[in-house]
Subunit: 419 residues, 4 copies
């Protein structure tokens, strides 16, 4: 058979064809974009890529670079140090507004230009010169995309001739002591960052790198730590779509970032990375057809931060009862707080007199840190109640956390079938 996902994307594109926006025209290079270009790509957690439309067409990344430069700054200096320079509050303003916090003088968030220029200067050591910093940023963007990115020198040169507003913003943060060094250099570096060339597949991979916790699904590189990915996704959620952030969150619900060249990138934790491209923009500066495609993806695929999971199957598998005379508990599904709590509640009902307890976690699909800690705690308590506890863990998921300190037996059984 042939996977229907690619066909589905093709269908979405054909249904989102109407295009009533206007191509950005503040520089000739953007104004010359073909308004009919349209593309979409999805990347799955294991790096599978689907795309449709003009997926090979490259365009400048523009503001979509902002969350990734922010990620690099967080990686290089830590979340707290960066928070001292750039806030995380939505500003409700347009992308090029002067949104500084009254009390601290720091930009309100890294998704508006004044915060993004500041963020650019925070990538790498403080003493990097302009060229080295810019190179580090472009290289970092490439690490997210999984390939080396080129810069469109024509777009760069053209943007630099209309760079006055950004120079004003850089001078303001320089005046406030938020950045050091030359405002002009900061703006030049930031402008070059925005001129990196990408296609929708790059955007999908970059999005998935965030959605997987910082590890590129193609290269396997841990580009940024998981806590950084989480911080970036949070800020994209509250500030990514400018003054329509609230509307985007309720209507689409995918952390996202758009660029003036017509790109939109989305990243839903654990689910999908997505990229769209269509140059015509709405009055907020977002790609008209790109927004429509994301609305469709969210609605059709239930890709929304606030999606309510279907009630889970019993976390306790139906096969439970006994195994060779011993109490058998088969856990299954994703083991997070809610499901681990259910498992513990089941353990509570096992009478101390019952003797041996076998807990099989071979069918647990995912097991996060809290699930693991809660299971260990529950198993230890069962053992403390006097049970001999045998854990069947064919994939070695439970780890050695409780190994030495708690008196239960974790059996790693390579071939569950043969048990």
């Amino acid at each position: 058979m042939h996977s229907p996902v690619g066909e589905y994307l093709q269908q979405i594109l054909s249904e989102c064809a109407a295009d009533d926006g206007a191509v950005a025209d503040y520089i000739p290079e953007l104004a010359a974009a073909d308004p009919d270009h349209l593309a979409v790509a999805l990347c799955t957690p294991d790096g599978t890529l689907y795309s449709a439309g003009d997926a090979e067409r490259r365009f400048t990344i523009q503001s979509i670079s902002k969350p990734f430069a922010y990620a690099l700054a967080l990686r290089d200096h830590g979340i707290d140090a960066v928070l001292e320079k750039v806030g995380v509050e939505p500003s409700g303003d347009a992308f090029n507004e002067i949104s500084l916090e009254e009390r601290t003088g720091r930009p309100e968030n890294p998704m508006i230009n004044i915060g993004a220029i500041t963020t650019h200067t925070l990538v790498g050591p403080a003493d990097l010169d302009e060229d080295a910093r810019t190179a580090r940023v472009i290289e970092g963007l490439g690490a997210f995309a999984g390939r080396e990115l080129a810069v469109d020198e024509d777009v760069f040169a053209s943007e630099m001739s209309e760079v006055w507003r950004n120079l004003a913003l850089a001078s303001l943060v320089r005046a406030n002591g938020i950045i050091s060094g030359s405002p002009e250099e900061a703006v030049r570096g930031y402008t070059r960052q925005c001129a990196a060339l990408v296609d929708v597949r790059d955007l999908a991979v970059m999005g998935m790198t965030l959605a997987r916790g910082g590890t590129n699904p193609l290269t396997g590189e841990q580009v940024v730590p998981e806590e950084v990915a989480r911080q970036v996704l949070s800020v994209m959620t509250s500030c990514g779509m400018y003054d329509a952030a609230g509307d985007w969150l309720s209507a689409v619900g995918i952390p996202a970032k758009s660029g003036v060249a017509g790109g939109i990138l989305g990243a839903l934790p654990g689910q999908v990375g997505a990229g769209t491209f269509s140059p015509r923009l709405d009055r907020f500066g977002n790609s008209v057809r790109g927004v429509r495609v994301f609305e469709r993806l969210s609605r059709d695929m239930n890709l929304h931060l606030m999606r309510i999971p279907e009630p889970s199957l019993e976390v306790i598998g139906r096969r439970e009862r006994t195994l060779r005379g011993r109490r058998l508990v088969v856990l299954q599904g994703a083991m997070d707080f809610a499901s681990a709590e259910m498992a513990l509640r089941h353990f509570e009902r096992i009478d101390p007199s019952e003797g041996d307890v076998v807990v099989d976690i071979g069918m647990v699909s995912t097991l996060n840190d809290v699930g693991r800690r809660m299971l260990h705690e529950g198993l230890a308590r069962l053992a403390a109640d006097g049970h001999r506890v045998i854990v069947v863990d064919p994939h070695g998921r439970l780890g050695d956390l409780g190994g030495g300190r708690v008196p239960y037996i974790a059996r790693v059984v390579p071939d569950r079938e043969g048990m």
Copy 2:
């Protein structure tokens, strides 16, 4: 054994004891609150409640009523009609600011007072009189909590004596044609709504009702439709914690709402409903210890909107190979877009010459609508390739969607063990 969850909550309370804020003092009734009161409660998707501290202590719900009155208005008039009156953009302002959209004159969101007063008037038919509307709101709050709520008449009366700012806000939306009727009545009704008495267990249940898609986990009542619950959770995310919304989202990541009496309610879709109570407030008006407890819950329990799920176990169970000479595919784990895509990709690799294919979904833990549709599509395509496709669906999860139209056989096998 004894479940560790309650003990864990007790431990958090003891570790969040330091309390440096100040009890609200604008009316004597709030000023008289015991600043040492401290409580927390959690509610699981199936309605199990854990609590610690002064969990029986009741307090006025105050602003925590806002998302629920908003939910009732959405239920009664539909999302679009309510959006015409109240926006969903974060305002970045304090709770009692005048935040009206310049273009439309509508309040920026339902979580600030001016939006909440407007929202109150949108509960029930337009022609309801003041008493009937207020009764409907209080009754609706009770449906979320799973019990009938009383109103603290002393707090109500006292608030009414200092109601000038809210009267100003109501008069402004009346002047803008956003509400009709008397501003004074709107304020009185809203003030009564805020004086409803709750405890932390009520908050936890109310939060879980949203986190489950609108169905109360105790009573089973579908209080509001799922799309309303999603809308409310989205707005809580972007606007719930006032001018610290962005910081809350990155640091805690649980959609939440706080009240001036010291309560905080949180709701993480599919995971948990939570309530805390501690009367001392920080400068934003949020409970100091309540914020700390939520930070701990988020960090310790990995309860965060942006949590990156652990890489899933293979969606294709290891037992696959053959079953009595036939190709066997065992699906497992949660079946959403990302995992259904993996399943489809597996189907792609089955050669048309292979003959019968048995697909066992008995170990699939959850199966949402998009997962169901994608599976149906994949199974149909396998059948179109010439395979005889037999689906083992012991819990009857796949539904009859594809029943008539696609030529594959769904076998509901009540006792999977016996297969």
Copy 3:
């Protein structure tokens, strides 16, 4: 002969006939105004009135009442006490904006609605009831106009039905503790104040009452002290014409106030009081033709605060030389700081040996307090130099200030001709 002033006004009206604004239409009574009505009146310092056009037509005073209610409040409580409640800074906002000082919560100035409502409540003792306060305000407006004013009850009733925004403003200052008592009563009283009926001649007299230092030119009543009149004129200058105040000051230069019914009042200290009426308004809410008439008056009649006086004739009359062998100094013109300084400088050049000095102030046209004090000081110094000083003061203007304490002789000579 016949004075040309009336004809001049008639000519201005005919030249300002084009009328491209729109009649206020927020209540039917204003919307029904005949848009072609046009009138102008001037009042001279001695109470002579000139008018042209529909000078008998009455209209509601509206916001033109604001500076006069402010004057009454200043009179009743003193400038400092009123400044604690209402500032004097231009807000740059529209008339009905919420312009409160961040630090104090007081309205920015008394010319915007929120400040004017506050000002209304400051007329008379704090314990006045609503009717008594309103009566006191209406009576005070009448004292400025020189006749008892009626209230248009239809306009009043109609405005009260659309009073929501003003109720919001009153509630806000009530919330901030700037006013006490009921916001609703404040708004009702203020709305009645705005419905007082005037014609352009009333406006001209009211303006001249301020321009003369608080004394009505018709009745001779000192309605408010001079320092109050000066304060009111200052505030009209900086805040009178709303968000076009700076433009009005440079282009017209006459302290002024406009009303939504189409009136404009102007007051140039010592020169003129003026009133115009034409119901069509520009986007700032100012009468289109009224503004044009004022521009013409300012330009044609050199009526501008910043008019640069022509270089004065010598303050020392040419007749000086000697009178019967004695040094004779004849002073003339207006005697203020600049001219008194010139006189003193002339005195400096008189050699101590010269003997008697006769100073004739009979031709001094005006003599203000500082001129009087400076002259006394100069005369005393001449006497101290050993001169016998004889002052000829046929109108008794110099006063007895120096009488006892300085050794010069002031001769009041009733008939200067016969000297």
Copy 4:
């Protein structure tokens, strides 16, 4: 005798000695100023200078240069062309705020930095290079002061090292298309302008140059046209004292401008130019003791825009009656609109049968354009009534306006005594 004015100034200084502000410290050169320096100077319309205190001490002019650069720009390009680039509305903001009109993108007024930087670039032809423009501005400031001004190169260099905020402002107006050319050059030129060295006597002369209508009282040079002087005085009135402009207007009432080095300049039309110097500043950036000195001058000397002139003496001299059998009218005092109107009213009462009318204007102290036109009109009407009209005009003030066209006889009598 010795003029008391200098002693009076000395007395004011001693009474305004308390000094609770703080010297500007953003650059070392200003921080090093002696906080005890205190000086005042006054300049009269005929160029007489009085001063007291450290009147020889020079300091950098700073923001006091703003109204004068504005005057030069108005002179070079006309009021309308400059208004297209810089508004005249008070901004209510601090001196270094970003106050741009939303609709036009132009700075709100020329007294805040963003407007002043713009204004600097408008002095001289558009194609001037940086050095030539700066030289033209410094030369123009010198023309106002009546001497060539030097620039403090140390202050200039030091300010340039902290110029980021001004660079931001210049970049913003460049981005908005308000200025052309390099923002950096604009800031450098403006910073040099601010470093011009003056003393209080310079300020007094500069103020009087405006207060006399643009003609320097020392050199007699017409630096700017009268209409430019009026425009500048208007803008100083509404915007000169930053966010305390309204308070200054009511409390002091002298159009003024302050500088961060401690200077304040005042200019009251036709009356006085004034300069003060004392380096300690209040929170608005105005010299603490300078403000006090201006308050004293205003109060003691009745120097206030809104001063209400004393009721004039009869504009019709008492000597009137008959002269050799003919009706004699002797006019006196300042002849502006109000007094000319009184004269015309007197003419109205002359019966057509009376025959010859002699009008003596020899005692008229000042006669502005409107007074001249009104008198001509009145005299022409008397003649039209059949009177033979003989005008006695010993100073030749009436001009030849009516010479040919109206049938009355203007007799210029050089020696009035001999008539």
